[in-house]
Symmetry: C2
Subunit: 164 residues, 2 copies
């Protein structure tokens, strides 16, 4: 999670909603990415999607059953779905996302036994720091007149409306 938080901080410095993700296999980080939606204009460029794609390329296998996805914010439906599509073995996340979280808050895609793959989920790891990064980011955006806001000031700021 320390490395995922570093990716989140780097994302914030680049003007992105600060979310970072790493993929770990046998204790080794095989991919690390931050949110890149603003820079790339790619609506799918959440940290998790990017890290899972990198991990599959690095390992030469689109099935990541032995991998753990570590991410600073609870995955949204797209990212929880991407973890399912990649058959990730385990998901560890930091801050919960009550507005769009899909591994426990609004949905629990990772634990849905109707799907043909489930992942172990561990929540709340490094949650305070992950949430603080999001809160600080949205506070600075409000102050700076960047046009973005996280309604309610919650850390759940990565949904489509959060950045305008």
């Amino acid at each position: 999670m320390v490395e995922a938080l570093a990716e989140a901080r780097a994302a914030a410095e680049a003007g992105e909603v600060p979310v970072g993700a790493v993929v770990v296999v046998d204790g080794v980080v095989v991919a690390r990415r931050g949110n890149e939606r603003e820079r790339t204009g790619d609506p799918t460029a959440h940290a998790e999607v990017l890290a899972l794609r990198d991990a599959a390329a690095a390992l030469g296998d689109r099935r990541l059953r032995d991998a753990t996805l570590v991410v600073t914010l609870e995955p949204c439906p797209m990212c929880a779905g991407a973890a399912w599509a990649a058959q990730v073995g385990r998901i560890v996340f930091g801050a919960a996302d009550p507005r769009a979280g899909a591994t426990g808050s609004l949905y629990n895609v990772a634990a849905d036994v109707r799907l043909n793959h489930t992942s172990e989920v561990t929540a709340g790891v490094g949650a305070e720091e992950a949430a603080a990064l999001l809160t600080a980011f949205f506070a600075s955006r409000r102050d700076g007149g960047g046009g973005a806001s996280s309604p309610g000031g919650e850390p759940a700021g990565r949904h489509p409306g959060a950045t305008g």
Copy 2:
């Protein structure tokens, strides 16, 4: 849907689970892609994700509120989430996916008012042909000893286990 089906057929010819997607704005197709998971080894390379990414690049905007995503098979959680993340205005799909569908079958991400964006959904357009493509693909894979199978022979064959 005719163009999405053409993408699905092209995917099948390339050895991919036959699913195709196009993105339409004002009656013009701005992106068209087929499933590329096998060729690329990218677990996120479902037709919808690829088409949405292309559409955002073509339009220079990651918000696709005026766009319609047309796809031959009901989107999975990842792809329904991607449509949400891209704020797609409308989703039109062909065959329902009772095993992994996330716009009506297992979930309805597109109609979830807890999320900050919803999309209009039209189901069943070209469903018979879309399903027939999937059925034929999995039948040929079984016959050919390709190692893939769609348990039950249903058209819902795009989930992680379907190809391996």
